[in-house]
Symmetry: C2
Subunit: 471 residues, 2 copies
């Protein structure tokens, strides 16, 4: 049995007089009203389209994985946030990101995959964070990764910003900047400055410079981390050079030839930037920013962040980078890759909160509402069937209500066209349609009406889910 | 921070020499290889399109709900199957269907919704069933429901079979039959035959007639249920009349005027059938089948099952029916509705198992693979960017491999077109494309190649995910 019928019968056999249970949705779980859901789905669809243009294949992995797999070596704050439970003898977890399941997938099925393996995945992940406004315990991530078998060409790192650009551009966002850096450049630089042994700590601290400011970074590095003030001044002077009107490549050029890692990193960064225009990213939409370090140790090359120009305070809306070893917990096979993530649920929340959602997009559940004016519904049904055959989304409204309520139904749902089908129209083989936006009413043959409605809708459907507010 | 960067660092800082963890996916959890995933996604997309044509709005609800909400009154076998766990102080469950979350949603947000409320939802649900081949613990359901506020016109019940028809037809399945019945007809009939007090038991038993056969049904009804043999003979004679070449309406006509419920039910059944042709369902694809009772008590009117003509042994692949009260656990508001479900994961498994998947559908991750023959990749990148701008899905292959391996990459992934871009072509502003299926090679301007490739692909893309094997 594949259909419905498996739901527990008790749910529908409630005894009379029983206490009602107050319906509620868990806090930290987004549940949208229909119009908003349409916008959210439109965003997902635009991302799918964008990822597909770059040759990524869709993937879907289980939400539940064995704890052993998901927590290969867990501990601390992260594990506390994870939804973990037993079912029978099994120790299970809900996935907390899409990267670990990808690592498992590639390690498990690697023999059947063709490399470089490009996949996208858009799915829900779970983190039991402290509930607060704009933070979600269940949220969609949209990820892409390119995984090489042993090696992966630098052109893939250069391609990623163009995917980021196309994604947001297609969504309707224009005022954003992709910020690029390379961890080898920073690591090499720290080695040149004699603080290579503290590179990871320094990286984590300077990554926070946007949030906590230069002074606090200075205090942390000279204090906790124990780096001489002169070196810290030097580092901050270099990484913030763009702010002082100095091109990062000019600033970095002075260090060339002194450290191999640095030279490789600088070469990679130059290559990435060099191909940016060919990949179609406007110069206005990217910049090399040496303060972008990414907190995580596993990035080994190019790193990316994306900032909304109007709202830098939100932080990055799309980040990622190059890593050397995707799945070392599961396999000896060396699988370097590059990938990015968008936290879609939080992004959607922010877009709504800041007034960036396009309220003009066609979010109605139907294009046409047919109001039969006769008891016999055959003609209305036939008309609906014919229009659906032409790709129109049609509802028949036959509830026993007053005429005004029927029209109000279309109004509330913002259905753009209403067709009145009375005895006269049926006799004459005609149809009367009302354009709900203009109020205009037209009577013509069903075929002509269908063509006219389709043309009107084609215009309305071109909208993007994001519409930036005027500056 | 909305992007990646939140994954636990420990996953990528494994010490050398540590034991590997054997990657595995939990049993009962479907995880598809890329080509199969494309087919699965195509099925989901076709269902979305079909549902949308009937004016259903997409909905997405949390996978996790409070146990109190999900198990309004639980017990027995069902509760054992449910994934239930604590997180902090919260008693939580994973949803086991999409109907209970819908009931909650409508009860919670009913004030903001417009009725009749038509929604579809395609999402994962969880049941910890005993693991066996073809049974899944995590699986997709595709549901539609139409919810009325206090009342709901019969035309909605008549529309459902046309949605079922369109769904499977669009998926590429043709050899199937929608079987329709009405619970009021059965209930009324049982009252007329003097066994009205045992209607629920009789219903549950005759619903199994396809599986266990007439004799076993006879034994159960005369035995356990305690119904006189004569009455059971009578019931079986009526409900199986079609097998004996008797039209169910003729058979039922004799009972008209003897019981109100029966008469109402017969009227509803006639109306549903009457509109079937107007709704575009061919006579070959539906039948009134009085043995369809559905096991669940909550159905109160029309009920539906859908059977693959080649594989009746599989049972129904799409079922549902009319119910009177969707959300009585949560609200006093009377919310009658009608809905159906498709168990998508199991259906996909069966289609694959029985050889019904269309292997000819374009499942490659890209339409075009560009093989740059020069070290400078600018021209290849520009070509890719231009082709993507025209909607083509393009990959650039720049790994350091032998020519043969590069072409093998396209072969393995079944990418239909490969472009070789060497120095000569770049100089002359030309492009050489190879049609991988025919082996044909063409050299022309990028614009002409793009147009030609798009035309070829438009043909290939028209495939449906299901392709029935020859009989």
């Amino acid at each position: 049995m594949i259909g419905r019928g498996y739901a527990p019968a008790y749910l529908f056999t409630k005894e009379k007089g029983m206490e009602k249970i107050t319906p509620r949705t868990l806090s930290g779980f987004m549940e949208l009203m229909p119009e908003r859901q349409v916008l959210f789905d439109a965003m997902v669809e635009k991302l799918r389209e964008s990822f597909s243009l770059y040759g990524f294949t869709p993937l879907d992995t289980p939400v539940i994985e064995s704890a052993e797999i998901l927590l290969a070596k867990a501990g601390g704050e992260t594990e506390k946030q994870i939804y973990r439970f037993n079912k029978g003898d099994s120790d299970l977890c809900l996935r907390f990101d899409l990267t670990v399941p990808l690592a498992k997938y590639v390690a498990l099925h690697g023999g059947e995959l063709t490399f470089p393996f490009r996949r996208y995945q858009i799915g829900k992940v779970y983190r039991g964070e402290r509930a607060q406004r704009g933070r979600f315990r269940e949220f969609y991530q949209a990820d892409i990764d390119i995984i090489g078998d042993g090696a992966l060409g630098i052109i893939n790192e250069a391609e990623i910003p163009s995917i980021i650009y196309r994604c947001f551009h297609t969504l309707g966002l224009e005022r954003f900047v992709i910020r690029i850096n390379n961890r080898k450049v920073l690591n090499g630089l720290f080695q040149i400055l004699g603080i290579g042994d503290k590179a990871a700590d320094v990286m984590r601290t300077i990554d926070k410079i946007d949030k906590i400011g230069q002074e606090k970074v200075f205090d942390l590095l000279t204090g906790e981390t124990g780096i001489p003030a002169a070196a810290v001044h030097h580092i901050i002077d270099i990484i913030t050079c763009r702010k002082n009107g100095v091109d990062p490549f000019d600033k970095l050029g002075a260090f060339r030839g002194r450290n191999e890692t640095f030279d490789i990193g600088l070469g990679e960064l130059s290559t990435v930037v060099k191909y940016m225009a060919s990949f179609g990213v406007p110069a206005s939409h990217y910049e090399v920013d040496l303060t972008i370090a990414r907190g995580l140790d596993y990035y080994t090359g190019t790193v990316y962040e994306t900032t909304m120009s109007d709202h830098p305070e939100i932080g990055s809306i799309c980040s990622g980078g190059r890593y050397d070893n995707l799945a070392e917990y599961y396999t000896d096979r060396k699988l370097p890759g590059v990938g990015i993530s968008i936290g879609l649920t939080r992004l959607f929340f922010i877009l709504e909160d800041k007034g960036y959602l396009n309220g003009d997009i066609l979010a109605a559940p139907a294009d046409v509402l047919i109001l039969p004016m006769t008891e016999e519904l055959g003609p209305a049904v036939e008309l609906a069937t014919a229009m659906r055959g032409e790709g129109l989304r049609v509802q028949i409204y036959s509830e026993n209500k007053k005429f005004k309520s029927k029209v109000a139904y279309a109004d509330k749902l913002k259905i753009p066209f209403v067709i009145f089908l009375g005895e006269d129209e049926i006799k004459e083989g005609l149809v009367t349609v009302k354009n709900m936006a203009s109020g205009e009413q037209t009577t013509a043959s069903p075929a002509m009406i269908t063509t006219a409605v389709k043309a009107k809708l084609a215009e309305a459907r071109n909208g993007a889910p994001i519409k930036e507010p005027a500056v």
